[in-house]
Amino acid sequence: MEKPTQRVVVTSPRTRAPRARRPYSGTREINEQSELGAVYMRTLIRAQRRLGLSVCLVATGALALLPLLFAIDPELGKFRILGLGLPWFLLCVATCPMLLLAGWFYVRQAERSEREFAELVERP
């Protein structure tokens, strides 16, 4: 390891461009309301809005089809599942797990996209 110290000539790099600023962290960009910060935020909000709307629309949209279905063909009500009439089965039994599943999926995805956002903006 012990090497004799070598003398080296140090010169400034030959360029007129100012030295590159140390890049700011995303946190600082957002707090200082720069263009980049706005882009970060817009991306997060869009992602969350898309996720929320799609989970919401798929789940409630599926439910909202049912009255139409029963209005078109009331005879469907006579169809039986597990001893229950179809509307009773669908509305009392089947909706709950469906809503819970949708909610669970949403929470998982929303937390994931927030984690990704955090990693993105906290990168130095």
Binding site: L53, V55, P87, W88
Partner: protein, 581 residues
């Protein structure tokens, strides 16, 4: 069905609520404690409290009553009450918590930086809260009337008194304990009896619930008519008793009710014989049990419009209820707010399995309620009717206690949030004293309103409160959170354009008799036209007035959407996660 046990149960619930409340008093001291329990409540506690607060008279007695009377079309009430939380979870839960405001008007001000938007939101929150309190008090009156025969106003008065005292002394911290306890109490009170009732039904040969026959009396049944009633008999029935039929006085003798319509006087008591077909209320569709079990059987005009209007109101209205919203501030952060909401979805799903079972069994065992029109009482009457002796009485007492818990908890939550709005925005009285004065006012107004309303089913009344919330505060929250284009002018115009027609329609339905007019359904189920109106007006007016964009929208958006732990607040410096205390 006067029962000593039930009276005791109601008293125990009322006293227990006060006791738990005063226990909470010891730990709540500062103003911040009073309003949002210092934000130290865990998701499970919080979710139980939301469930306890949310499961109101409509859920406990109203839904079963409507299903009993009108069949599966009414299943949209429990489904909508639950699905509303999915919409709330996906669209507003986390940003609402991150806005860091205490009440809905606080949110309006934080987002729009405008006293005007705040004032409109305050007035609407008050209107929705009072509209929602009214059926709670009516339900309390009905319950006490069913179990003790006391006049309707007694129950309403008791609930108002207990709630006002409790809220005044403990504030919201104690209410969180009370509410969480109430959810589990209510679940027990509705789940335990139904287990016994289903067993009793099975033991007696599990008669089909959907036979193609009209409901009949299963035993000699004494029926008392609380108000003047017009009934229709399909076949002549021989009844005994005292009262008034078609204007003629009957004193303790037998009378033949011929086929056709009859007016029965208030306070009449008649005994109907076993196996006689049940006459039905003239204003209600008469269905065999088979027809009743099919969709679109409720006999209302425009059933499809009614169903969709109800769906829109309940799905979107939940987020605009003032007492539900205030719960989100007691979560420590946005992530916890989401998890809380998910737990709430589960808790509600479990609870809402029960009321339809009561409704269905009621067709077999308490058909006389179809004749008196007191369909909301089906949950309360069923246990004593199906199980004889002390067992039935005890189960009946449990249900009555649970129902009373429902009125107390929902009313408490509403009174807390209304008092918050009143003291901050209307009376402008700060501190604990202002909160107490507001509490009294928040309770007295709906109590006065109970004396002039026309006694429609409680779940329908609650549906109207949902419709107003969905057409005014829901657009404010949804568009305010997800679009940075909404202006102050747009927010105010949208809230008024949706809220005022919905509120007017609600008041007209509640306090006047619209009868069979074709537009009746447009007034009693207004959401399908007022909600789109509110959203459209808010968005279009905002696009037309781009100069009224609130200052610092971008910063507000950062605050609403960025996770708390990153120290982002869009203000350039400090990382205060919670600047308001």
């Amino acid at each position: 069905m006067t029962s000593g046990y039930a009276v005791v149960a109601v008293l125990v619930v009322a006293l227990g609520t006060i006791l738990v409340g005063t226990y909470g008093l010891r730990v709540s001291r500062t103003t911040s404690d009073f309003y949002v329990a210092s934000r130290t409540v865990s998701p499970w506690w919080n979710a139980s409290a939301i469930g306890g607060e949310y499961l109101s008279a409509a859920s406990f007695v109203g839904i079963a009553g409507l299903i009993f009377a009108y069949g599966p079309d009414m299943l949209w009430f429990p489904v909508g009450y639950t699905a509303g939380y999915l919409v709330l979870l996906t669209m507003v839960a986390a940003p609402l918590r991150r806005s860091g405001a205490y009440t809905l008007p606080d949110f309006a001000e934080a987002r729009f930086r405008s006293r005007g938007v705040r004032a409109v939101a305050s007035i609407l929150a008050l209107a929705i809260g009072w509209l929602y309190l009214l059926p709670q008090l009516e339900g309390a009156g009905l319950t006490l009337n069913t179990v003790t025969g006391a006049p309707d106003w007694v129950g309403a008065l008791i609930v108002t008194a207990v709630v006002t005292v409790n809220v005044m002394s403990g504030g919201m911290r104690s209410i969180t304990f009370v509410q969480a306890f109430q959810y589990w109490l209510k679940l027990t009170a509705i789940a335990v009896p139904i287990v016994f009732l289903v067993v009793a039904w099975q033991v007696r040969g599990s008669d089909s619930l959907t036979r193609p026959e009209y409901p009949v009396f299963r035993q000699d049944t004494e029926v008392s008519f609380q108000r003047p009633t017009t009934i229709h008999a399909e076949r002549s029935v021989f009844v005994r008793g005292t009262g008034e039929i078609d204007g003629a006085r009957v004193e303790n003798t037998g009378v033949v009710l011929t086929e056709g319509y009859h007016r029965i006087g208030q306070g009449s008591e008649f005994t109907f014989p076993k196996d006689a077909p049940v006459p039905h209320l003239s204003t209600m569709a008469h269905n065999t049990n088979e027809m009743w079990s099919l969709p679109m059987s409720s006999g209302q005009d425009f059933p499809l419009y009614g169903a969709y209007s109800l769906i829109i109101a309940t799905f979107l209205g939940t987020m605009g209820l003032p007492h539900v919203i205030v719960r989100f501030y007691t979560n420590p952060n946005g992530t916890a707010a989401r998890r809380t909401t998910l737990i709430v979805l589960g808790l509600l799903s479990v609870f809402y399995l029960m009321p339809p079972m009561y409704g269905a069994l009621g067709r077999l065992y308490t058909p006389e309620l179809l004749m008196t029109g007191q369909t909301d009482a089906v949950v309360l009457v069923l246990p004593t009717r199906m199980i004889e002796g002390v067992g039935g009485q005890l189960l009946g007492a449990l249900v009555a206690g649970g129902a009373f818990a429902a009125f107390l908890s929902t009313s408490s939550g509403l009174v807390v949030s209304l008092a918050g709005v009143l003291s901050q925005d209307v009376l402008r009285l700060g501190g604990v004293r202002g909160f107490r004065i507001s509490t009294v006012l928040a309770g007295l107004v709906p109590l006065a309103m109970t004396f002039i309303s026309t006694g429609m089913p409680v779940a329908d009344m609650v549906g109207l409160a949902f419709a107003v919330a969905a057409s005014s505060l829901c657009p404010l929250l949804m568009l305010g959170i997800w679009s940075s284009r909404i202006t102050k002018a747009g927010a105010i115009a949208g809230m008024l354009a949706g809220g005022v027609p919905a509120l007017t329609a609600g008041l007209v339905t509640m306090f006047t008799d619209t009868g069979d007019a074709w537009y009746e359904i447009l007034l009693s189920r207004p959401a399908a036209w007022t909600v789109p109106l509110g959203f459209t007006v808010m968005y279009v007016v905002s696009l037309l007035t781009p100069r009224h964009l609130p200052s610092g929208v971008q910063r507000t958006m950062v605050k609403l959407h960025a996770p708390e732990n990153l120290g982002l607040d869009g203000s350039g410096s400090s990382s205060s996660a919670d600047e308001r205390s």
